[in-house]
């Protein structure tokens, strides 16, 4: 997934989250189905409004949760991208950078070999 795709997804998810939250806040208004809906005249109509309200608030809640989960997934993706490509450079450099240390190494190796041989009975 490219960076742009990730960012787009992030935007979409946050947008969705805010919208859902707004809807949920509207639904939490205890007055009859909010201001825009007509007051139903019969008992069955009233029941319909009530049950649809319950259903809607449940839906929005689930959407909200889903959105947050999506956000988490996105952050995880971003972290994976980071760990797979952009780990900070380690300052530790090769021990054999300088000629001097290289020469020392060579001597050490030979010396150790000599020791190995000289101690032979």
């Amino acid at each position: 997934m490219s960076n742009q795709v990730l960012l787009d997804k992030l935007d979409r998810t946050t947008e969705l989250l805010s919208n859902t939250l707004i809807q949920l806040a509207k639904l939490s208004d205890l007055e009859f189905g909010g201001k825009d809906t007509e007051q139903p005249r019969s008992s069955s109509g009233l029941a319909t409004v009530s049950s649809s309200g319950v259903q809607m608030s449940n839906n929005y809640t689930m959407q909200l949760i889903k959105g947050v989960q999506d956000l988490l997934v996105i952050t995880r993706n971003i972290r994976e991208k980071w760990v797979l490509s952009q780990l900070p450079e380690n300052k530790e450099s090769s021990a054999f950078e300088s000629e001097e240390s290289l020469e020392n190494c060579r001597k050490l190796v030979q010396e150790s070999m000599k020791t190995l041989l000289n101690d032979m009975p």
């Binding site: 205890l30 449940n58 988490l72 972290r79 190796v109 009975p121």
Partner: protein, 670 residues
């Protein structure tokens, strides 16, 4: 006449005239009047016959059955007898002439004007009635009774007078029809007949539709009614409906839409609010539950990534993978040395970086080839190479442990973080490969005292000591015994040897890496492993053996030449041929090259040159070389004082060399 009957007002007005005589197409009013008295009019019609005949415009729609039309179309042979019959017996067609007819007409006219003068505002009903009366009179007259009319307007004896009467009625009727049906009259003035026909059709359609619909509603009502009042319902049902739907099969009920009263509304409102509150409560619970779950997982993730950051550097090879056990996405780390040039393929060298179930700890789970990660298996995975040196006890055919390589610090340390875990995994896989390669090498070194004693043990036997390379499992016992053991003489050598072996394996890696980076087109790519380049144990063994050979050669030279002559100096030179590869331009490659070059001296074939200069007799050069690190090839070259090469030979046997050296001494050096 048989078909004639008295005028019956209930049956309507019999049609007395031929509508075709008037220049109006047959329209409904006349048609309506027509239906009632067919039979009467049929016969009456004969009176009108003189007038019509030729230009009868046929009514297009046969709403009425116009008998006059019928008469008009009759042939004279049929018509004349009919007419004579109507005029009464005894009349002859020859008697009817123009004069009598004219007289009849004038009489008719006079009677009519008298009538109109008496009652000028006669209504259409009256006219019709009067005409009806007239017709009755005519009927009576035609019936053959010559009774004079009461008012005496019409002479009953003279049948001719009657023939004009319908015409007059006709005229008055037309006038009245005009006044009554103004619309058709006006329409006639302004529209063409075609348009009129069109309109008429439309009207008819509407009428038909209305009839249809009304009959449908009648059917519906009848069916509905049949359930309560069967007989009444059935009577008005059509036979078709009766057949299709059994009576009283339809019922109806009145359901009242109960409008909410104020207190009901209130109740419902309360219920609604209750529902709403309850659902909000549910939502709250749901949100809280998920919040807890998610925040927990966020925490876990946070710790996981923090640990990754702490433990992983950019030198580690990470990759995305899937945990086969949990099915979750996770990161994998490669601890094997594939990328460093290792050819060891018995183990994948891959581990999962898994968050432990508690979420707080990062877990390192090596993935085995079987696909089941069984964790770090103590018995099979944690193995390391131990070198033990046994020294031969003099006079006894026994060996004594004189040195042992120490445990790696890594194994002793109790540090168990991910970093050290990774390091341990690396250590173990390296040790296992080392043993694997040692075994491989040992197979080729059998002639030089190397044997594979068991799966995990290689023994190198020298003249007075034995060196064991053993891959042993790491367990508490090993660790404790190692810690308790007293230091021995050869511990250092054992350690050095182990370090040297490790380093040599690393050099093998680097050579392999070099090969991968500089692919040689001449070598086959299919070759896996180090092939001829595998020089680990061989290098050490070769050096040890070479040392021995050198001692032998020195001894021989000393014995054969130096001890016999004085002032001889022997110089030995153990220099090896320097590699003359030019440094690579690539920085990484150059580093690699230099790193490999560090071990050139150890890895190249051992060679020692012995030069003995004999004064006045020339120079003896002996070179001890090897073709496979472990064997000995002796090159000998003798150059005399005149720089002439006398001998340049090669030996692989020391005894031969010694004998030859003796021969050379005796021949040239004495």
């Amino acid at each position: 006449m048989d078909g004639f009957s008295e005028y019956d007002p209930e049956k309507g007005i019999p049609l007395a005239i031929d509508p075709n005589l008037i220049n109006i197409p047959a329209t409904s009013p006349l048609a309506a009047a027509d239906g009632n008295g067919h039979e009467e009019t049929n016969n009456l019609d004969s009176t009108a016959t003189p007038v019509d005949d030729a230009d009868l415009t046929k009514s297009q729609t046969s709403l009425i059955q116009n008998p006059y039309e019928y008469f008009g179309q009759m042939s004279l042979e049929q018509f004349i007898p009919l007419m004579l019959q109507q005029r009464g017996a005894g009349t002859k067609f020859a008697d009817i002439n123009e004069d009598t007819l004219l007289e009849e007409i004038s009489q008719e006219n006079k009677a009519k004007t008298d009538d109109q003068a008496q009652d000028p505002n006669v209504s259409s009903d009256a006219i019709l009635e009067s005409s009806g009366e007239n017709l009755t009179a005519i009927d009576q007259d035609i019936a053959g009774t010559s009774i004079k009319d009461v008012d005496g307007d019409i002479q009953m004896d003279d049948s001719l007078t009657e023939s004009h009467k319908p015409v007059q009625v006709d005229e008055s009727n037309v006038n009245e029809t005009d006044s009554e049906l103004q619309l058709p009259a006006k329409v006639e003035e302004s529209i063409t007949p075609e348009e009129f026909v069109l309109i008429k059709k439309k009207v008819l359609e509407h009428v038909n539709m209305a009839v249809n619909e009304s009959s449908l509603s009648l059917e519906f009502v009848s069916l509905l009614l049949s359930s309560t009042r069967t007989s009444a319902g059935i009577s008005s049902m059509s036979p078709y409906l009766k057949k299709i739907a059994p009576p009283s099969s339809l019922n109806a009920d009145k359901v009242s839409l109960d409008m909410l009263e104020e207190h009901e509304k209130l109740t419902y409102d309360i219920i609604h609010k209750g529902w709403n509150l309850r659902s909000l409560e549910e939502c709250r619970k749901l949100l809280k539950q998920h919040y807890l779950m998610l925040s927990k997982s966020v925490e876990t993730e946070c710790i996981y990534w923090k640990q990754i950051l702490d433990n992983i550097t950019n030198k580690d090879v990470l990759f995305k993978t899937k945990d086969r056990n949990t099915g979750r996405r996770t990161l994998g780390i490669k601890y094997g040395f594939d990328d460093s040039g290792s050819c060891y393929s018995a183990e994948k060298g891959v581990a999962l970086l898994r968050a432990a179930s508690e979420g707080s700890q990062l877990e390192l789970v090596p993935v085995l080839d079987s696909g089941i990660d069984i964790g770090i298996n103590k018995s099979s995975s944690e193995q390391f190479v131990r070198i033990r040196i046994f020294t031969k006890i003099e006079q006894e055919d026994d060996f004594l442990l004189s040195g042992q390589s120490s445990l790696n610090e890594l194994l002793v340390s109790s540090n168990s973080d991910i970093k050290s875990q990774i390091a341990k995994l690396r250590f173990f896989i390296f040790e296992k490969e080392l043993m694997y390669q040692l075994k491989k090498e040992a197979a080729q070194l059998l002639p030089y005292g190397v044997s594979v004693e068991s799966e995990n043990k290689v023994v190198l036997e020298l003249s007075n000591e034995k060196i064991e390379f053993e891959l042993i499992n790491l367990d508490e016992e090993v660790i404790s015994s190692h810690q308790q053991e007293a230091p021995k003489v050869n511990d250092k050598r054992a350690n050095l040897m182990l370090v040297m072996l490790n380093m040599l394996l690393v050099v093998m890696y680097k050579k392999q890496l070099w090969k991968r980076l500089n692919p040689n087109p001449h070598t086959s790519k299919s070759a896996v492993g180090y092939g001829k380049d595998l020089v680990i144990l061989r290098a050490i063994l070769g050096k040890i053996r070479h040392k021995k050979y050198t001692q032998v050669i020195e001894k021989i030279i000393n014995n054969t030449i130096i001890e016999k002559k004085e002032d001889l100096i022997m110089t030995t030179n153990a220099d090896t041929v320097p590699t003359d590869s030019e440094p690579s331009k690539n920085k990484e490659l150059a580093t690699l090259q230099r790193e490999i070059a560090l071990f050139d001296k150890i890895l190249c074939m051992p060679r020692t040159d012995f030069t003995t200069i004999i004064p006045d007799k020339g120079k003896l050069e002996v070179s001890l070389r090897s073709t496979n690190h472990c064997n000995a090839v002796i090159h000998m070259k003798y150059t005399d004082a005149e720089q002439v090469v006398k001998f340049d030979t090669r030996f692989s046997e020391f005894t031969e060399f010694e004998e030859f050296l003796n021969f050379v001494y005796n021949e040239f050096l004495i």
